[in-house]
């Protein structure tokens, strides 16, 4: 575990000891990346919010049993991933491609970019979003854990509960698909 991980674990342990400010720090540090991971994996903003809240609820209720054996991020994403798999079982209708795209575009684009550049970048982003959207669930999860959460292959394998080679294969295949989509 590196220094940042130790810091996360320390915060979690401090929260378990009764320091609410430790949780606030931890939450602020991980909220964005976790939310985006869930949003883009679940492809349903409402479901993503539910899973986001449920993930943190599990973190809160598990505080007394928390043992810093792995990176906090890995543990957090494991919880989120398990909840995602459970939600897939519930046969909730997923958002259509258009809805998902709208969900991704809710945030305004940077305004300092030139019109031509903005158009080009917009097109590339749109293609990337669609390409991610069209990936099979397992590949999408793997590539989002890589791009959004910057996890290593080993960590992706740990979060998704598969072997390293399986995780690497999914990741490689997904990234090839994304590059192909962008090159078209």
């Amino acid at each position: 575990m590196d220094a940042a991980v130790d810091d996360d674990a320390t915060l979690m342990l401090a929260y378990a000891r009764g320091e609410p400010s430790a949780f606030d720090t931890l939450y602020t540090r991980h909220r964005g990346a976790l939310y985006r991971f869930l949003l883009r994996t679940a492809r349903d903003p409402q479901l993503a919010e539910e899973l986001f809240q449920e993930t943190w609820s599990r973190v809160i209720s598990s505080r007394a049993r928390y043992v810093p054996q792995a990176k906090f991020t890995t543990w957090l994403l494991q919880i989120a991933h398990n909840l995602l798999i459970d939600s897939h079982r519930r046969k909730r209708p997923l958002a259509t491609g258009e809805e998902a795209e709208r969900a991704f575009e809710l945030t305004a684009s940077p305004e300092h970019e030139q019109p031509e550049h903005v158009l080009s970048q917009f097109e590339r982003r749109r293609r990337l979003q669609l390409a991610i959207e069209q990936l099979p669930d397992e590949q999408r999860t793997a590539v989002l854990l890589r791009l959004e959460n910057d996890l290593s292959v080993e960590e992706i394998a740990e979060v998704t509960g598969v072997g390293r080679e399986t995780a690497k294969s999914r990741l490689r295949y997904a990234m090839n698909r994304l590059r192909e989509q962008l090159a078209e």
């Binding site: 939310y35 919010e49 598990s62 990176k71 890589r146 590059r179």
Partner: protein
């Protein structure tokens, strides 16, 4: 979150894709959601503190229960000593009633010592006679079947009435030294009277056999009280604090196999709560009721 070094995981086009991905809208949870989660975290800590504050009365109560249980246990260990008095609880009352046991005639004391060595402390104990009565009555209930079936049982119950009679005589002879004479013993059952008559003239061989009977009965009493209840088959699937997650999942599978679905689902849900980071195996996940 971005803390890992990917020197060994370089994939072609990784950096380019990451750069493009980072240019995507950085959507974040709403402030309302943030507030709800932070409030939940703070509430959990508040509840934890309140539980800690209200824990000490529970600890005190637990200590009190342990002390009472230890006291009862100690009394139960001593219980075999009062076995001889079980047939006539009034006899126990009579023999333990005198305020000064040492003032009893030597004959009576000798008879007690010789015939029921284990009963001596009880006869001489200044403990309240009522408690002895209750204990004897309980023992009589416990031992009723064995008394009914065993032939030598009446012999063991004899000394008490005899001692009572001797006590009466001694009280008449020494009215000053002894406490007020105890009330006369209630009429013994017919069977008891007959056995008493049969055994009274020859008390000599009785002590040895009585001692054996006492020991045997004491052992039976202890057995009947200490024998553990048969372990139910469901104990194999009972949750243990020391169980590993794999063991717990295995027990949950057993519950499903035993058609105890409700219990299994309850345990499965509890497992999910306790180990949110552990993915459920497909077979168990399939058992969960589908929502919506």
């Amino acid at each position: 979150m971005n803390t890992h070094d990917h020197d060994h995981d370089e994939l072609p086009g990784d950096d380019e894709l990451k750069a493009l991905y980072r240019s995507l809208p950085r959507k974040e949870p709403s402030p309302a959601l943030d507030a709800a989660i932070k409030r939940q975290a703070a509430d959990a800590l508040r509840g934890q503190r309140q539980r800690k504050l209200t824990r000490w009365p529970v600890a005190v109560a637990s200590c009190a229960v342990i002390v009472v249980a230890a006291g009862l246990g100690w009394r139960m260990v001593q219980q075999p000593a009062s076995v001889p008095q079980m047939a006539s609880s009034d006899a126990v009352t009579i023999s333990s009633a005198p305020a000064k046991p040492s003032a009893e005639p030597a004959l009576a004391q000798g008879a007690i010592d010789a015939s029921t060595p284990a009963a001596a402390p009880v006869a001489a104990a200044p403990a309240s006679p009522k408690r002895e009565n209750i204990r004897s009555a309980m023992k009589a209930k416990l031992l009723a079947p064995s008394v009914a079936t065993e032939q030598p049982a009446p012999a063991a119950t004899e000394p008490a009435p005899m001692i009572a009679m001797q006590d009466d005589r001694a009280a008449e002879q020494q009215p000053v030294a002894a406490a007020p004479p105890p009330p006369p013993a209630p009429p013994a059952p017919v069977e008891e009277a007959s056995t008493q008559a049969a055994y009274a003239p020859a008390p000599a061989p009785a002590p040895a056999s009585m001692a054996d009977n006492h020991a045997g009965r004491a052992a039976m009493t202890m057995k009947s009280m200490a024998a553990p209840a048969p372990i139910p088959a469901s104990n194999d699937t009972a949750a243990q604090a020391s169980d590993t997650p794999a063991q717990e999942l295995s027990k949950i599978r057993q519950l499903f196999a035993l058609q105890r679905r409700d219990e299994a689902l309850q345990r499965l849900t509890a497992f999910q709560q306790a180990h949110p980071d552990i993915a459920l195996p497909d077979d168990l996940r399939a058992q969960l009721p589908a929502h919506e």
